[in-house]
Amino acid sequence: MSHVDDGELTAYADGAYPVDDPVALRISAHLSTCANCRTRLEQNEDLRTRAAEILSYAAPASLQAPPFESLQAQVNEQRAAIPRAVPLAWAATIILALGIGWFGRGAWQGVPQRSSIAMEETAPAASAVEPPIATPAPTSEADMTSARPQSAPAAKTRAPQIAAADQVRTDAENVATDAAVGAAAGRAAIAATPPPPAAPPPAMAAREEQAVARDQALKAEAANAVGYISAAEAERRGLVVPRIPELPIARIGLFAANMVVEQTLPDGKVVHLTVSNEAEVAQFETRRAQGERAAAPPAPAAQASRVPSAVARVRGRIVNVTGDLPVDSLQALAAKIR
C-alpha cells in the first residue's frame, strides 16, 4: 500500500484542499484504512501547533496600528504633489531616452561616406546640385520642397536653418544644400551669381517663424533635460562628433533626431552645429534620387527675417551651422567642420 505523500498530507492537515477536491477525497479515503498515515497526520498537526507556538515568541511588544486616516492623508499629500512635476519630468525622460536609444544604434560610429554624393567641401558650386536639407527635431518634417516655389505643394514646414541657407544658393544651381561651403570657388560662384529670389508664400513665412519658435522652445527644453554631455564624455562613449577643430566644445546635446554641438568662438559667441542622423540622410538621398530640385532663395526682404545658417556635409552627415554671425562667417566655419 502506498502512503500519502508528506507534502500532500501537510496540505491536507492545513486545510489547503477544498472538501470536495479530488486530492482531499483520495487522502480522506486512504486515512480511513491506514493507521500509519493517521499517525503521521497527528504528528503533522502537533508539529504545526508547536511551530506556531515557537514563532509566537518572536513578536514585538506592541502591535498597535496607527490610525488608517493618517496613512490616507500621507497618500493624498503625495498625490497632490505629483501632477505638476510629472509633465516636465516625463518630457525630460522622453528626450533623454530617445537620445540615448538613438545613439545606442551606433549612429555615431562613423557613417560610411556616400560615394554617390560629391564631397561638397571641394566641389565647385556647379557640380553639387542637391535639394534642401531637412532640419530635424525642432520642426515637423522640414520640407525640402518648401523653399522651392516652383516645386510641388509646400504642405510642410521648412526649418529656418534650411531657409536661411537658401540665401546663398544660386538659382541656376538649384542647390538646396550648401554642402560645398568649404570650397572657396564654390562660395565665390554662389556669391557672384545671386539669383533672382522668389518671394515665399505668406503661409510658408509663418510656418518658418513657427519653426524658429519651436526650435527655440526645444532648445530651451533640452537645456533643462538631461541630454547634454561633455566632449570628454562623448569621446569616452566613442561618439563621432563633427566639430570645428580650432574651437572648444562647450557641450553636446543629444536629442531624438539629431545632435547639437555647441562650440565657443574666441569672442565668447556660441555656434551650434546641428548634426542630422541617418534617417534624415536617407530621406535626403531619396529626395535627391527622385530628382527634387532645390528652390530658389527667398526674396531679400524675407531673408532678413531668417536665421542665418550654413550647411556642411561631413562624413555622410549633414551639419547645419547657426549662430549670431553673418552668413559668410558661418559658411567659413562650416567649411572647417571635420
Binding site: D6, G7, D14, N44, Y57, P60, V75
Partner: protein, 175 residues
C-alpha cells in the same frame, strides 16, 4: 468594486508587523515597514482595483519585497544579534523584569532557529504563520500546493528541532 483598504488595514496590520518583525528583528523598523507597505498599497492604482480576496496576499507581497531589501542589511542583523548576546552575558539590569529577559531570550532562540532554515523555507513558513493561504503562497512563490506542504513540513520540523536544541543547551547552561 475597489478595495476597502481601511478594513484590510485593520484585519492585516498585526499579522503584518509580526511577519516583518521576524524578518528584520527590530520592532520599530517592523512598524515602519508595515506603514510603508500600506502606503505603497494605497498608492498603487492597480491594487485599488483588486477585489478584497487578493488584498491580503498583495499586502504581504509588497511587505515581503520591502523586508527582503531590509533584511539584506547584514550589518543591522549582526548588530542586533551581538546586542542580544552581550545583554545575555551581562548581569541582569535591575530595571528589567525577569520575564522580559526570558522573553528576549526566547526571541533570540527563535531568531537563531529561523536562521538555520533556507531562505525559501523560512519565507514560506513566515507567510503561512502570517495567515496567508496555500493559494496565496502559491501565487507568490510559484510552488504547487503539494510542494508548499512539503516545504512547510520541513521548515516546521527544522524550526522546532533548532529551537529546542538551543533551549536545551541554554537550560543545561543555566543548570
Amino acid at each position: 468594486m475597489s478595495t476597502d483598504w481601511n478594513s484590510v488595514y485593520r484585519a492585516t496590520y498585526e499579522d503584518l508587523v509580526r511577519f516583518l518583525y521576524r524578518k528584520v528583528w527590530d520592532a520599530e523598523r517592523a512598524h515602519d515597514l508595515a506603514q510603508e507597505t500600506f502606503l505603497r498599497c494605497l498608492r498603487d492604482r492597480a491594487a485599488n482595483a483588486q477585489p478584497m480576496g487578493n488584498a491580503r496576499a498583495f499586502v504581504f507581497t509588497v511587505a515581503n519585497n520591502l523586508a527582503r531589501d531590509e533584511a539584506r542589511s547584514v550589518i543591522r542583523r549582526k548588530k542586533h544579534l551581538t546586542l542580544l548576546k552581550s545583554e545575555a552575558e551581562t548581569a541582569t539590569p535591575p530595571v528589567i523584569a525577569e520575564e522580559t529577559i526570558e522573553q528576549e531570550r526566547k526571541q533570540a532562540a527563535v531568531e537563531a532557529a529561523l536562521a538555520q532554515l533556507s531562505d525559501r523555507d523560512r519565507e514560506i513558513l513566515l507567510l503561512w504563520d502570517a495567515g496567508l493561504t496555500y493559494q496565496d503562497i502559491a501565487a507568490q512563490t510559484g510552488l504547487s500546493i503539494g510542494a508548499i506542504g512539503t516545504t512547510l513540513s520541513r521548515a516546521r520540523r527544522r524550526l522546532v528541532e533548532a529551537f529546542e536544541t538551543t533551549e536545551g543547551t541554554q537550560n543545561v547552561a543555566r543548570g
